[in-house]
């Protein structure tokens, strides 16, 4: 009987030697997180990715699976981020007529706003004594995750810290756009959508689709252009 117990306790570690446990846990947490999200009424401040990640961390901690073993196994999933980044080019192409219709404000705003999104974060972090590794993790905070992972790796930052920053940025950008739209005031849905996508990447884009389809299209556009622009600009600037 006690032998069975010992074997039972060793079970997570033994299974963790193959990638299948990591894949199963990640998939499971993804679906449970999405289910919980719709059960609690789809709140703006708690996107499903946060729910799923908290669940997953809890399960990994309880099973006492080594985090690095998990990460190793999960590479079977994360390797798909490369093709997924390429896939972002398709909606970008499909929205090309929106870009043409509003090219002037977009061309003026995008380079300045996307640069400032990174500059504000880096300058504030630097003034408060953050290390270069932390600054490199904060710089791509407004960029959509698959692109931001590539940027952070190029800059030598910490991917986990960057992902945390990305999530918080997405949530607060959504709240700030709602707040500032009322204060300024801005009512043009195209502008609101663009600001949501530019600053709040995928989380902001999800919010924009709740406002209207036009806002959603402009958010995808803002997200895609910010991603490309920042990915091309940041590594070159950081080198200097």
């Amino acid at each position: 009987m006690s032998e069975l117990l010992i074997r039972f306790q060793a079970l997570p570690d033994t299974l963790a030697t193959t990638p299948i446990l990591a894949i199963g846990l990640t998939l499971g947490a993804f679906f449970v997180g999405n289910w919980l999200f719709s059960r609690v009424g789809r709140p703006l401040w708690l996107p499903p990715v946060v729910l799923s990640a908290c669940l997953l961390s809890g399960v990994i901690a309880i099973l006492a699976v080594d985090y690095h073993d998990y990460q190793q196994g999960a590479r079977w999933l994360t390797v798909l981020l490369g093709p997924a980044t390429v896939a972002l080019g398709i909606p970008l192409y499909q929205q090309m007529h929106h870009i043409r219709a509003m090219w002037r404000p977009i061309v003026v705003t995008l380079p300045i706003a996307a640069t400032m999104a990174a500059v504000y974060a880096v300058v504030i972090g630097w003034a408060l004594g953050a290390t270069p590794e932390v600054l490199a993790s904060l710089a791509p905070k407004s960029v959509t995750a698959p692109i931001a992972i590539g940027i952070t790796e190029q800059l030598g930052g910490s991917v986990p810290l960057m992902m945390g920053g990305l999530l918080i940025t997405g949530v607060v950008a959504t709240l700030f756009v709602d707040l500032l739209a009322r204060l300024l005031p801005v009512t043009d849905e195209r502008i609101l959508g663009f600001a949501l996508g530019l600053n709040g990447h995928a989380i902001g884009t999800a919010r924009a689709f709740e406002i209207s389809h036009t806002a959603g299209a402009f958010a995808s556009l803002g997200m895609g252009l910010t991603g490309v622009f920042t990915a091309l600009m940041l590594p070159l600037v950081f080198r200097l």
Binding site: T26, I90, A113, I124, G129, I149, L161, F176, N199
Partner: protein
């Protein structure tokens, strides 16, 4: 089957992007290069095949699943950055507030200058 065909196109463009990055020693990730190249290819071609649209929709809809392993790391590497939480929190909160403000004000200025103000 058709989704896999689209997936193959995405993988090929990714490999192309990675190759360009490695050959030219660019500091930009292969995925981004692949995305830029595929966007321009589609613009030249003028249409996107159903296979490719299907595969990209599929991958984009599970993006959250693909980034979760990275997100989970926050909880396991957090103590590495102890003592810098104030800097991180301020950079994220104040920085995002300022960048949202910048975007909205700029867009508002540029769009209302071109078109005559309706109000």
């Amino acid at each position: 089957m058709s989704m896999l065909r689209g997936f193959l196109v995405l993988v090929l463009f990714f490999i192309l992007g990675e190759s360009v990055r490695l050959l030219l020693a660019l500091p930009v990730s292969g995925g981004v290069l692949g995305m830029v190249v595929i966007t321009f290819t589609l613009m030249l071609k003028g249409s996107v095949s159903d296979d490719l649209a299907l595969a990209s929709q599929g991958l984009i809809s599970v993006l959250v699943l693909l980034i979760m392993p990275g997100v989970v790391g926050v909880f396991f590497t957090a103590d590495q950055f102890s003592g810098q939480w104030l800097a991180v929190a301020a950079a994220l909160l104040v920085g995002t507030f300022l960048s949202v403000l910048t975007t909205l004000v700029l867009m508002k200025l540029v769009t209302t200058r071109g078109v005559s103000d309706r109000e």
